[in-house]
């Protein structure tokens, strides 16, 4: 009995370590290649660990294309999206859960229904609409929709608000506070952990969004990182080292954020996933 148990434990650890290695190796390869010159990358037998780390690729990233500009654009779009998501989703979730009025259940269901719509199916229609508005090649199509709520966040915040006792709002209401004041002064501070989840996931969605910028932006000066990377790939000559450096720089903020705010990532996933 005892012997088999050690056997099982060894087995579990083996698989865990193997899994961890397969998760990490591609990332290691990415970072490793970003520090190598093109000649070293194309040498056989392969050099697994470069002896000297070369930072030239990281310099080239910024000189070959306006990569700093891509960064600034991405940060701008991300910040506006987060602000929009924080304001609109809390408002909507409050209205849907804490005020009773006719039609709110219908609106809640309609909102949840949009979760079932495949995002890419909506993109060409959205392109047509923004084209019709004449706002292609501006940041508006990438930022404005964030101010109108997102079904995933609304659902999550509704779940969260139901756990906050109503006595808080009622007491404030008796003191003559209005709804906006209650939301700002009472609900927002209480909902901070959920708001952090909203902010982090919005950050991820926007930072990683590829199709949106691809459709809506034309000029290279307006590119975000996601489509900026694409400019290094060409049929004739792809500077692999520089491409890997650009990719590493793109994921760096995500990884830093993840290690700072790991618990919010996990709670966001389980909130959205389990109760669905």
């Amino acid at each position: 009995m005892r012997k088999r148990r050690t056997g099982t434990t060894v087995c579990i650890y083996t698989f865990l370590v193997l899994g961890a290695i397969s998760c990490l190796i591609p990332l290691f390869w990415l970072v490793r290649s970003s520090f190598m010159s093109t000649e070293d990358m194309f040498k056989l037998p392969l050099i697994l660990f470069p002896k000297k780390l070369k930072v030239q690729n990281y310099i080239d990233v910024f000189t070959m294309v306006p990569f700093a500009q891509f960064y600034a654009n991405t940060i701008f779009v991300v910040v506006v999206n987060i602000i929009g998501a924080l304001i609109s989703n809390l408002m909507i979730a409050y209205g849907l859960t804490r005020i009773e009025f006719k039609g709110r259940k219908l609106m809640f269901s309609l909102s949840i229904g949009t979760l079932m719509l495949p995002a890419y199916v909506q993109l060409i229609p959205l392109f047509l609409e923004w084209n019709w508005f004449g706002k292609i090649n501006t940041f508006l199509p990438l930022t404005v929709p964030a101010f109108f709520g997102n079904a995933f966040f609304i659902f999550m915040l509704c779940q969260f608000l139901r756990t906050i006792p109503r006595d808080f709002d009622e007491a404030a209401f008796m003191d003559g506070a209005s709804y906006p004041l209650i939301i700002a002064k009472i609900i927002f501070p209480l909902a901070k952990p959920a708001m952090a989840v909203v902010a982090i996931f919005q950050f991820m969605f926007t930072w990683n969004d590829f199709m949106g910028p691809l459709l809506f932006l034309n000029d290279m000066e307006k590119y975000t990182l996601a489509i900026g990377i694409r400019t290094f790939i060409s049929t004739f000559y792809t500077p692999w080292g520089v491409l890997m450096a650009a990719a590493t720089l793109t994921i760096l903020p995500l990884i830093v954020l993840f290690f700072i705010a790991q618990r919010y990532f996990i709670s966001g996933l389980t909130l959205g996933g389990i109760k669905g």
């Binding site: 961890a20 390869w29 194309f42 005020i99 199916v121 909506q122 229609p125 047509l128 009622e170 990532f265």
Partner: protein, 300 residues
């Protein structure tokens, strides 16, 4: 449900309710209903973004099924990818979650590592795997070489390109692992102990307790991932551009090409509607067949 005491009267309450959810109402109109309507109309025209649109009814839809040779090919590729990826993702994620749920040291570290790949944006992972799959200088063929196997033409061969994209897809399964793990942690211990008392082995625990209790979460993840897989776009767009010989041309890539490369907006919108219907149809089939294998507590 008891009536809330908040608000002086229902009229004012109703007004405030609608004010607070007005972004949602506007959003549904502006970003869902209106564009969908516009798209439905465009799908019945010959609009090419330059000349004036001419209304042609269902002609685009008929054209797609009769004249477009790549339509069926792209649907086939997409379905192949989806039905290869989704079951594999579910099995791998479930195994990962079961491993993480066992009593081991360093659980937190492994959980972090397993989740890490799903942080990576699709563009970056596409670029990264493009390099890993490289025939001569890629790491994967290097390992194969060490193991004594022949090099494989991963994304450069007609047969291997979709399986290659599947491998990539299974790599970033971390978020599903985390969701499964949370589900596993919610399984009451007394149920598992009951199996022990009855002399059951791990297999029995898995088959009669874990799997039934986890089945709603499996269903949820299956549908979410299926919708994602049916929309395969970034990977073939970046890595293969649909090649070799259109063997990785996904349906969304085909729509994109029609809309933005060839300017056939009418045709592309008709295709988008076909994709929409296809997605709903497959979701519906999964839902309808799911009551045979999912289990909800409180069900009789």
């Amino acid at each position: 449900m008891s009536r809330t005491k908040i608000g002086f009267n229902t009229k004012r309450q109703t007004l405030w309710g609608w004010i607070l959810i007005s972004p949602l109402c506007l959003g549904l109109t502006l970003w869902v209903a209106f564009p969908m309507g516009l798209s439905l109309y465009t799908s019945m025209t010959t609009w090419d973004m330059l000349s004036k649109a001419e209304f042609v009814g269902f002609q685009n839809y008929i054209k797609i099924f009769t004249e477009d040779e790549l339509f069926l090919k792209s649907i086939k590729n997409t379905l192949y990818f989806t039905f290869l990826s989704v079951p594999l993702q579910m099995v791998v994620a479930l195994c990962g979650a079961l491993l993480l749920n066992s009593q081991v040291k360093g659980k937190g570290v492994f959980r972090t590592i397993f989740y890490l790949p799903s942080l990576i944006p699709l563009v970056v992972s596409s670029v990264m795997w493009l390099w890993l799959f490289n025939h001569q200088y890629g790491l994967i063929n290097y390992f194969l070489n060490i193991l004594g196997a022949d090099r494989i033409q991963w994304i450069d061969s007609k047969e291997m390109v979709i399986p290659s994209l599947t491998i990539m897809n299974v790599w970033n399964i971390g978020n599903v692992i985390i969701i499964f793990l949370a589900g596993l942690q919610g399984i009451p211990n007394d149920l598992l102990e009951a199996v022990d008392i009855d002399g059951g082995r791990y297999y029995h625990k898995f088959r009669y307790v874990i799997l039934p209790l986890l089945s709603p979460i499996i269903l949820y993840n299956m549908i979410v991932n299926m919708i994602k897989c049916l929309q395969l776009f970034v990977e073939p767009y970046i890595m293969t551009n649909g090649g070799p010989v259109n063997s990785s041309l996904s349906f969304v890539l085909h729509i994109y090409n029609n809309a933005f490369k060839y300017g056939k907006m009418g045709l592309a919108n008709a295709m988008a509607w076909i994709l929409f219907i296809l997605t709903m149809l497959i979701s519906l089939i999964i839902f309808k067949t799911s009551n045979q294998w999912t289990f909800y507590e409180g069900d009789k």
